[in-house]
Subunit: 208 residues, 2 copies
């Protein structure tokens, strides 16, 4: 594990990268103030976060967009390209398998797994759905870096346990159940309702 | 719009609420340090964020969990219950329609809309998929607070525009295309690859 950049700053780097994507066609430089307003992070924090990547910004001139994008992609390890697998191929798993945003950022889905015999052997996003029993062998064969969980909530923990037993060190969990970190494994829980809750805060009046 | 709590703090409130959900069965109080370690936010920041809700913590004793949960739910407006609609009923839209995490947090999906004649009139999650032409009337009838976009990227902007034209003031966009904020409308973009990028940072070596 790297410890160079504080975890809270690491979590904002993908956001800056995404904001830069909105700009690149228009201009070659961006100020920390512009990035601050796009990312909704205060500009002192933007400058501090980006300072961990080296001295890239020039006072009064800003950041060179292409350089900053490349630096963010390198720091986040996106240029390496990571193999991922998805366990649980319901609607959410199928949607994730087809999600363009993964490929764009260098994440390839190399396997889909389910326990439902009716799903096994059918195809989604050009991949044949396999039994979860094949995960261990495939993880070795394809050097899988990240396991993505899209099972129902009640199977999320056991799925995580079996991915860890297969040697997976990083897990992204989309099931609506917060997995706990275990040992050296890096687990991130995605709560799809989180942004809805933020919107809710800004809604003034309830529906009558 | 409320301006009482800084936006960055608002964004962390759903996370604290989610972390409290992990605890409630075990104990009645939680320290800011424990909450800090669960949420991965430094404890001074946790105390500052929660201070905006009023003085709920006691030095050396911590926060009463049930009180803090209730306070967070009230502050986020979750207790009011909001009606939402989903536009784009592919795999992602279907997954969102069935996602338990929305209902649990007080968000009800009252309408599903698509442009594909093959999908219109079929059912997902107990709802009949309707033509997007019916959005405007339904928004009035059901007092829809939040529009959720799950269309392909290339239709996200026009979908947002038409939701705004229908009077929707809050939009949650799951399409892999960053919508820009327009006027007084509150738009949040969800990038499903963001957490994968954070995991990527902590992966040490590329697949060979």
């Amino acid at each position: 594990m790297k410890n160079k950049i504080p975890p809270a700053s690491v979590e904002r780097l993908p956001l800056y990268l995404s904001c830069l994507g909105d700009l690149s066609a228009e201009k070659s430089r961006v100020s920390s103030e512009k990035l601050s307003s796009l990312a909704k992070v205060n500009s002192a924090q933007v400058r501090r976060d980006l300072s961990y990547l080296g001295t890239l910004g020039t006072r009064g001139v800003g950041y060179e967009i292409t350089t900053l994008k490349n630096r963010l992609e390198i720091e986040l390890g996106l240029v390496k390209g990571w193999n991922t697998i998805i366990v649980g191929v319901g609607n959410l798993g199928s949607a994730l398998a087809q999600y363009d945003g993964f490929r764009e950022k260098g994440f390839g889905v190399v396997g889909l797994y389910d326990v439902d015999p009716k799903k096994i052997s059918s195809q989604v996003a050009g991949l044949v759905i396999k039994s979860t029993e094949e995960i261990e062998e495939d993880c070795k064969k394809y050097k899988v870096a990240i396991g993505i969980i899209a099972t129902p909530a009640e199977f999320a923990q056991e799925t995580a346990n079996s991915l860890i037993a297969c040697g997976i060190q990083s897990i992204l969990n989309f099931a609506p159940f917060r997995l706990q970190n275990i040992g050296n494994v890096n687990i991130r829980n995605v709560d799809l309702s989180q942004e809805l809750q933020v919107l809710s805060y800004y809604l003034d009046s309830p529906p009558v």
